[in-house]
């Protein structure tokens, strides 16, 4: 017989309070409904990516089997399972943006940062996310999203200005 509990990671007070806010929106016996929000909260707090220990901690807090948390975290592209840069850049390459020059925008970002899609700059500031699909801003194509902020009607100059403005 081995003890079932090892030294487990605990979520921060802040994270738990934020998750509780979401849990209130769901029935008490449907805690798993909050798993996406919980992962988002924990990911943001941890610098934009998730570790196995953090996912286990979310599982413990919501009372889910760990694998059920891994399933959600691996399914959605908004969750990062390896360390990423401080800024996660998602350039849309879906149809509207593609027709309006999205590919050129992406090429410009790649050239300027000197990395390929899916890579992170050596100073860990920027990551270009792989294969981002339509983010529902077709009227403002081409567009990109950086850490949740929408940047629209992009040109090479505009991209430079945006990137220069980030720490």
């Amino acid at each position: 017989m081995m003890p079932s509990s090892h030294n487990k990671l605990q979520l921060s007070q802040q994270a738990r309070a934020e998750i509780d806010h979401w849990l209130e929106k769901y029935p008490a016996d449907k805690r798993r409904s909050a798993v996406i929000q919980a992962l988002m909260i924990v990911q943001d707090e941890h610098g934009g990516w998730l570790t196995n220990e953090l996912m286990d901690a979310v599982g413990d807090y919501l009372g889910l089997p760990y694998i059920a948390v891994y399933e959600v975290a691996t399914f959605y592209s908004m969750f990062e399972l390896e360390q990423v840069g401080r800024y996660k850049i998602s350039v849309c390459n879906n149809i509207s943006c593609m027709l309006c020059g999205g590919d050129e925008v992406l090429d410009h970002v790649k050239r300027r940062l000197g990395i390929k899609v899916g890579q992170t700059t050596a100073d860990r500031r920027f990551t270009i996310k792989a294969e981002e699909e339509c983010m529902a801003a077709c009227t403002a194509a081409p567009m990109m999203v950086i850490n949740g902020h929408y940047y629209e009607h992009l040109t090479a100059d505009k991209v430079d200005a945006i990137l220069d403005g980030l720490e």
Partner: protein, 803 residues
């Protein structure tokens, strides 16, 4: 939907047609269930009768009249007048299309795949696959993760049917496998490298329709078509799971479940599945051996048996028959128990017992015919409330735990009284975690609450005992559940049986059952406790429960009051007895010890005088009686190695060598039938007559009291040698002493990794683990382990210091 509405729905029949044949089928059934019942084969991968419907493989697509698109038969309920075509051009086209998609990414490695020859994908691809592929792109590759020593993964072969995922969630109750990633990157697995922990995990090997999950110990050792199948019965717990042993020449290569809805359904525990791996141990004894002048010699059977018989005769002649003690494994067959007691009694001794881990025998005359479940195995899943006393049922009887899990999923309240807050595969509604004395107090409290609740008369003497007690809220809640409606049970587990005052627990549980109307069930140690009682392998009863005119020593007395001679049958006393140190000391002081054993150990070399090599359970023919009283006879699956012989044959010939009449059986069936004639129509109607306990134990404040369970993979000699089982989490974690953090602090153990355990004169060193599931005042030191062999039994007062 309520259960009643569901029943009504299922009882109404509807008319459908499958491939032109008119059928009456139950409303609400799926098309595939109706087709299976009618013997119409619809190909499938993800559908499994015991699992929820996923409808994700699409292999079972069939054409339904008036429906424009093919429908999955597994997820389409039958309706009145439905016409189903399983082999129409449209259905076939859909099935062939699905097969083509499934084969896109499936590797063509059947020649090196263990599943080859018994693969559902391989079989169906013959019927529905094309002989060439239109797919010229690269196939996906999945890198494997190690999920433990029992199951081999080759996830590139996986077709994502999710049977293994659903098994974990629905049957095992531990969700360990899952589908991570998405689209083409979806993969089935544990995501991180983590060994599966469920004691039923091996069933995903059978569930997997392809070669993605296969048996690791069996890997690359045989092809399915080289093996013969022999029906046998698992001999590790009182369930008696039905097995198919797959053999090649004289070796068991693998064990698979044999469907039996009444016993194991289509599952078996990992213990029953992989125990065969212990048969080929290097310790296997294959030649009779005798010790003369301190030296061991290999010899022939005649010489060894003559030597054994002479030695036994000498002791009995010189010191009396009561100086002979016979200890037989509770896993032995009915035939073996019967012959062992016959031989013992023929020599004039009554000292025979199989209850090697039991300490308290005070109520043995109160037992009806034998201790049993009090109901059928299937009845367990129909319970509304169950109180488990002293049981970690998931480890002790994994398939009974599965039945309780089904009950729990159906809203049953499962409650426990245990010294350790064990993990279960089902939810517990009420629990009392307390030390050994506390278990008695708790049952007494529940009993008192039951009498208050029902107003039933309190049996003689019990009223005095219950009078000073106050009833806790938890005890009252448990009592109320036990007095509720529907089927209710109190199950005494292995730990209750090994409790130092187990007769008190049995008496109180019996009183609670009688007053509340619940069924009392006793889960006995080993595979054939019921059979052993029936066969008379107890000192106070002859075969068929007849009263023995002269009583003998029970297992504990035989070792506490050492005998001059022992006959050990299929046991290692230091591991199989509940008080190992006393057991071993008794063996060492004996003048003459005969051991019928499949293995030879250094310890045996010291205490034994004759070692007779015997067959393991599946190498012999025989009968096991499970906890519901079901007799299951089986034939030998393979011949035992070397000169090993089945125990029944050895005992029979030993009877001849001892010049005893009535030892002339030609087969094990003759032995069984002789017992059956004696038994007549007796059956286990009752359970336990009322016998008032002498008193209730009080708490020994400040003392650390030993509680020891039998680790799941240490329960018998075969298991202890099954290397893959020893490598599991349960196997590796067995040699650890545990106590809770309060006790650790109280005894100044701080950060200690190793502790010295002393119990009077005895001493052992063990690894320490802090485990807050353990009750205050309790130290958990498992039985049947090397360290435990140095110590006494449950209830011992222990002192600990950091090493």
């Amino acid at each position: 939907m309520s259960a009643t509405a569901d029943t009504v729905r299922k009882e109404t029949l509807v008319n459908i047609e499958i491939d032109g044949a008119a059928l009456k089928v139950r409303r609400g059934d799926m098309v595939i269930e109706a087709a299976d019942a009618a013997g119409v084969m619809i190909p499938r991968f993800c559908y499994h009768k015991k699992l929820s419907i996923a409808a994700n493989c699409r292999m079972c697509l069939v054409e339904v009249d008036k429906v424009p698109k093919p429908l999955p038969a597994c997820a389409t309920p039958v309706t009145e007048g439905m016409k189903v075509f399983t082999r129409s051009p449209k259905a076939l086209e859909a099935q062939q299309g699905t097969m083509e998609f499934l084969l896109i990414n499936h590797p063509l490695d059947c020649p090196i795949c263990d599943q080859g020859g018994e693969c559902e994908l391989q079989e169906l691809s013959i019927g529905f696959g094309s002989d060439h592929s239109r797919f010229s792109e690269r196939k996906r590759v999945v890198f494997d993760k190690d999920i433990g020593p029992l199951i081999s993964t080759e996830m590139t072969r996986c077709i994502h049917c999710t049977r293994c995922v659903r098994f974990g969630e629905e049957i095992a109750g531990v969700r360990e496998m899952g589908a991570t990633g998405r689209g083409e990157n979806t993969r089935i697995g544990t995501y991180i490298e983590r060994a599966l922990t469920s004691e039923l995990a091996g069933n995903i090997i059978d569930l997997c329709p392809v070669g993605a999950l296969t048996s690791k110990p069996f890997r690359f050792t045989a092809r399915s078509w080289e093996m013969d199948t022999h029906a046998t019965v698992a001999a590790h717990d009182c369930v008696g799971s039905n097995l198919n042993a797959k053999t090649r020449r004289h070796e068991v290569m693998r064990c698979d479940p044999r469907d039996n809805e009444a016993i194991n359904e289509c599952w078996i525990s990992d213990r029953d599945r992989f125990s065969y791996t212990g048969a080929a141990s290097t310790q296997r004894l294959t030649q009779p051996m005798v010790k003369q002048h301190g030296k061991w010699h290999e010899t022939d059977w005649g010489t060894a048996l003559r030597y054994a018989a002479e030695g036994l005769k000498k002791i009995v002649g010189a010191h009396g028959a009561e100086q002979l003690g016979v200890l037989i494994s509770p896993n032995a067959t009915v035939e073996e128990h019967y012959l062992a007691q016959k031989l013992t009694r023929a020599l004039g001794s009554q000292n025979i017992d199989h209850r090697l881990r039991q300490q308290d025998f005070a109520d043995q005359d109160a037992v009806a015919l034998y201790p049993w479940l009090g109901q059928s195995l299937a009845d367990l899943e129909r319970q509304h409330a169950v109180l488990l006393v002293g049981s970690q049922i998931n480890k002790d009887q994994p398939l009974l735990a599965h039945r309780l899990r089904k009950a729990a999923l159906n809203q049953a309240r499962i409650m426990v009284v245990n010294p350790v807050d064990f993990d279960f595969s089902f939810d517990i509604s009420h629990k009392v975690i307390t030390d050994l004395a506390g278990m008695e107090q708790t049952l007494a409290g529940i009993a008192r609450a039951v009498y208050e609740h029902t107003g039933k008369p309190v049996p003689d003497g019990l009223g005095q005992l219950l009078k000073p007690l106050t009833i806790s809220d938890e005890q009252r809640a448990i009592a109320q559940q036990l007095c509720g409606s529907g089927e209710r049970s109190i199950l005494l587990g292995q730990l209750a049986m090994m409790h130092p005052r187990s007769s008190t627990l049995r008496a109180l549980a019996g009183a609670i059952a009688a007053a509340s109307g619940a069924t009392l069930g006793m889960l006995t140690d080993g595979a054939n406790g019921a059979g052993a009682w029936l066969a008379g392998a107890v000192p106070h009863r002859l075969p068929a429960g007849q009263h023995a005119p002269v009583g003998g020593y029970d297992a504990r007395a035989m070792l506490a009051l050492p005998r001059r001679s022992y006959l050990n049958i299929g046991i290692e006393p230091e591991f199989d007895c509940g008080y190992p140190a006393q057991a071993l000391a008794a063996q060492h002081q004996a003048e003459f010890v005969v051991a019928l054993t499949a293995y030879r150990t250094a310890t045996m070399n010291e205490y034994a005088d004759v070692l007779l090599p015997v067959a393991l359970s599946y190498e012999t023919s025989g009968t096991l009686v499970n906890t519901e009283g079901r007799w299951q006879s089986f034939a030998a699956t393979v011949k035992a190695p070397g000169e090993s012989r089945p125990v029944w044959k050895v005992l029979r010939v030993l009877g001849n060598f001892l010049d005893q009449p009535g030892f002339d059986y030609a087969s094990s069936e003759e032995v069984r039938d002789e017992l059956k004639v004696t038994l007549g129509s007796s059956s286990a109607a009752g359970q336990l007559a009322w016998r008032c306990p002498n008193g209730l134990a009080g708490h020994d404040d400040g003392a650390l009291v030993r509680v020891g369970t039998v680790p799941i993979y240490h329960a018998d000699a075969l298991l202890r040698r099954a290397a893959p089982l020893q490598q599991t989490v349960d196997g590796r974690g067995a040699e650890v002493a545990c106590l809770n953090s309060r006790e650790a602090a109280r005894h100044g153990l701080g950060e200690a990794q190793q502790i010295v355990i002393t119990e009077g004169e005895r001493r052992a060193v063990m690894t320490l683990a802090i485990d807050d599931r353990i009750a205050d005042g309790v130290i958990h030191i498992p039985l049947a382990t090397a360290a435990a062999a140095e110590l006494g039994g449950n209830g011992g007062v222990i002192h600990v210091v950091a090493d």
